[in-house]
Amino acid sequence: MAYNIDEKCIGCGLCVRVCPVTAIRGQLHAGHTIDAATCIECGACGRVCPVSAIQNSTGSMCVHLNRKDWPQPDVDDTLCVSCIACIQACPVGCLGLGRTDLRDHHARPILKIPDRCIGCGFCHGACPVGAITMKQQSWAALPARH
């Protein structure tokens, strides 16, 4: 299963730029295609497409969403066990270890490069203890880039 681009595609190339695994090919102003074997179903292409030309793996049309409204991970430090599963799962490498928790000397993950996050939720899915929730937040509220 993978995402699919239909004939509404205007060939703007936004999806090519956002795809974390370079699964999308196509000439500018011409129809683009997604390589099903490479696609990881992160949904970034669907969120960025200005004409909603992309279907997800179940055949539903993806809805365009302004980047400032994309959900981002929020780590609950009281649940987090510092197991780095989220960091390993992230396809764009936007998570990293933050400061060491003074209570137990183990570092917790933080969103190190917020503007690289594509809101895929892989970190949320990978967290063994459910310490990560995906929350919409405005750019203004984000911490400065580390």
């Binding site: 695994v21 990881i40 203890v129």
Partner: protein, 672 residues
């Protein structure tokens, strides 16, 4: 989604080709994944009598069945091949981040065959595998290699790298494979196998998602498990640890061990927390297994006070999916290095009578960078020091280097020589047994090894289980596969029917019996070890006990299967048996893999915690073999056991057409 991919990658370095192979679901039912998957494939694909350092040997990198499923403690990856050190089945186990990375590339395992005519590295991402020239990397140490490759293989995310250092390149038979800045799959000499294939590194940067069939149930189980680990239990200072060891030594009885006591210690100090206590208890060997805690007394062992090591720690290090974080990153010579582990510290302190913590850090860093096993390196240097004391090795052999007990500088120099394979280091780089055979004069009697592999720093005279497992394991000389204390901690009787409950208190003499009860717990240990190696579980997690770490429940929730703990234990027995069949096929005399008699208390020590303690090794081995369903005299799995476990006969791996071979193997019925 399933927690396994159902696909492995074959890399033929002779032809430079990469091909995928589908794995039937029945294989996962029968062998789980991880080491089980590797065993089921290598048993069929490595031809009998293959040169371990030749093109016919197959080197496997495998990911555990539970890795990435939402479980905890399941980030272990395993390397497997025919061992050049022991000539037997060889495997090594490591944490870090490689295990999820294999699955994120879309595979459950990477199997490398053939030999390249020039150095290469393998890179895999979502676009598939590619072999690239590694001539420029050849000669670099493991950390330089990893840092260089992370820059070379650019992408959105940082890749996971497994690589060899100069030790593996120079085919040192005690070389390992490094991952994540010096975490080592150290044992069985598999670094030399990688070096013989001219494969410098494996670089994995795939990002396929991982998951399980029942994510909510996995999360529920994992949360309950995490609570057992993350409680902050106040512990005394490191100075109390030798007192704890002394109390354990003086107690007239043995108390049942519980992982809830060791987990907080691992969380605070890591494995180094146990070094000083273990010396006092009688668990750590002293002076090449000939001394005792009286020789390496508390004033000497003060050098390895765990608080001294903790003072150098910058931050905790967690392997993938681990809530414990027993590792640590320490400052060292202006940079960073992994905190030395229990084994390394014991091997380069009490075993050699050394008391220089800086030297331990230096040696640990050198060996990690060279990609060499610290257990075997320490054991080999201990042999060299005793050989020097007995006049077997003289100044003319060492080019003037004096090898007195307690000389840390000499140990560091020997390590350098072994890595460079210069002078006497060229001989020592292949382990103590080969060096002893070269020098003769009876020095084989104090090469403390099993089947050619140096045994780890846990004294079988304190826990006879170590002697038994190091001798009957298809990979001889290992300490992680079982002992009596592990059985206490695994608490298997809470889930698996018909297993004896460990007694809360027992007389110290009872440990040394070679009866049916000891055979039963040893076999249970072996089956459970192979089960968790199939799952990719860390041994320290398993020490919580199966009623607190829900390994059986995780396996069912992740896969959607409905297998009972007894059926999973049977899968563990199947993995153990097929590994043994690998050795049988090699024509190995299985009783010859027994550990050196000194370590089993023959003759017994006259002083110290383990005085007058001897292990009835032959009787224990016979009992184990009989209980697991192998011939009690020879250790060869009986036909009825093979039939009961559904292990198919060998396929003809000598056929010329590879395609036919693959199909024939897949037709095997791996039914339960």
């Amino acid at each position: 989604m399933k927690p396994y991919r159902g696909r492995i990658l074959w890399v033929d370095l002779t032809t430079g080709t990469c091909t995928d192979e589908e794995i039937a679901e029945s294989v996962y039912h029968a062998y789980l994944g991880g080491l089980g998957l590797a065993a089921s494939i290598l048993y069929n694909r490595i031809p009998a009598g293959a040169d371990p350092l030749g093109p016919d040997n197959v080197l496997a990198f495998v990911s555990g069945l539970l890795t990435g499923s939402g479980s905890l403690f399941t980030g272990r990856w395993m390397a497997a091949a025919k061992s050049p050190l022991t000539g037997t089945w060889g495997d090594a186990n490591c944490g870090g981040t490689l295990s999820p990375a294999i699955k994120q590339c879309g595979y459950d395992g990477i199997f490398v065959t053939g030999v390249s005519d020039h150095p290469v590295y393998l890179t895999i991402d979502n676009h598939g595998p590619e072999l690239r020239d590694a001539t420029g990397l050849w000669g670099m140490d493991t950390i330089e290699t990893e840092e260089t490759l992370k820059k070379l293989v650019s992408g959105n995310r940082e890749p996971s790298v497994a690589c060899i250092g100069p030790a593996g390149e120079r085919l040192s038979l005690i070389a390992g494979i490094s991952n994540d800045g010096g975490r080592m799959a150290a044992r069985s000499g598999l670094g030399a196998v990688m070096g013989s294939k001219m494969l410098k590194a494996v670089v994995l940067s795939g990002s396929y998602p991982m998951g399980s069939e029942n994510p909510e149930e996995m999360r529920h189980l994992s949360r309950a498990c995490a609570r057992h680990v993350t409680q902050n239990i106040p512990l005394p200072s490191g100075r109390a640890m030798p007192l704890l060891g002394a109390v354990l030594r003086h107690l007239p009885v043995t108390a049942r061990m519980d992982g809830r006591m060791s987990i907080p210690m691992f969380r605070k100090w890591g494995t180094c927390g146990m070094d000083q206590a273990s010396v006092e208890w009688g668990d750590t060997p002293v002076r090449n297994w000939s001394g005792s805690e009286g020789d390496y007394h508390r004033r000497l062992s003060d050098a390895i006070d765990p608080d001294r090591i903790l003072a150098r720690e910058q931050r905790k290090y967690h392997c993938y999916s681990c809530p414990l974080g027993c590792g640590g990153i320490c400052t060292w010579q202006g940079g960073e290095t992994h905190k030395p582990e229990y084994e390394t510290i014991a091997a380069f302190s009490a075993l050699l009578m050394c008391t220089d913590l800086d030297a331990v850090f230096a040696i640990n860093d050198r060996l990690n960078r060279a990609g060499m096993d610290t257990i075997s390196a320490g054991g080999t240097i201990a042999w060299a020091m005793e050989a020097w004391e007995k006049g077997v090795i003289t100044s003319s052999d060492t080019n003037g280097l004096k090898l007195h007990w307690g000389d840390s500088a000499a140990a560091l120099r020997l390590v350098e020589l072994m890595i460079a394979r210069e002078g006497i280091g060229d001989l020592l780089a292949d382990g103590s047994l080969r060096a002893a055979r070269h020098f003769g004069h009876g020095s084989e009697s104090f090469a403390i090894q099993a089947g050619g592999q140096e045994i780890a720093m846990h004294d079988p005279r304190l826990d006879p289980g170590y002697a038994l497992h190091a001798s009957v394991e298809p990979t001889p000389g290992r300490h992680t596969t079982g002992c009596q204390v592990y059985y206490d901690m695994y608490r298997l009787w809470t889930r698996v029917p018909d297993l004896p409950r460990a007694r809360l208190l027992s007389g110290k003499r009872s440990k040394y019996r070679a009866d049916a009860a000891q055979a039963a717990i040893a076999v249970a240990n072996s089956c459970f070890t192979q089960l968790y190696n199939g799952a990719g579980l860390c041994m320290f997690g398993a020490m919580l006990g199966v009623d607190r770490i829900p390994v059986f429940e995780w396996l069912n929730a992740a896969t959607g299967w409905h297998m009972t703990p007894a059926e999973y234990m049977k899968a563990g027995r199947r993995i153990q048996t097929i590994r043994q069949l690998f050795n049988v096929r090699e024509g190995i005399d299985l009783s010859s893999l027994a550990i050196n008699p000194r370590a089993a208390g023959h003759p017994p020590l006259e002083r110290g915690a383990n005085r007058r303690r001897s292990v009835q090794l032959t009787a224990l081995m016979r009992g184990y073999w009989e209980r697991i369903g192998w011939d009690a005299d020879t250790g060869v799995p009986s036909p009825s056991t093979i039939a009961e476990l559904g292990i198919a006969p060998l396929t003809d791996t000598t056929c010329a057409d590879d395609t036919v071979c693959v199909e024939a193997t897949l037709e095997i019925d791996h039914g339960l």
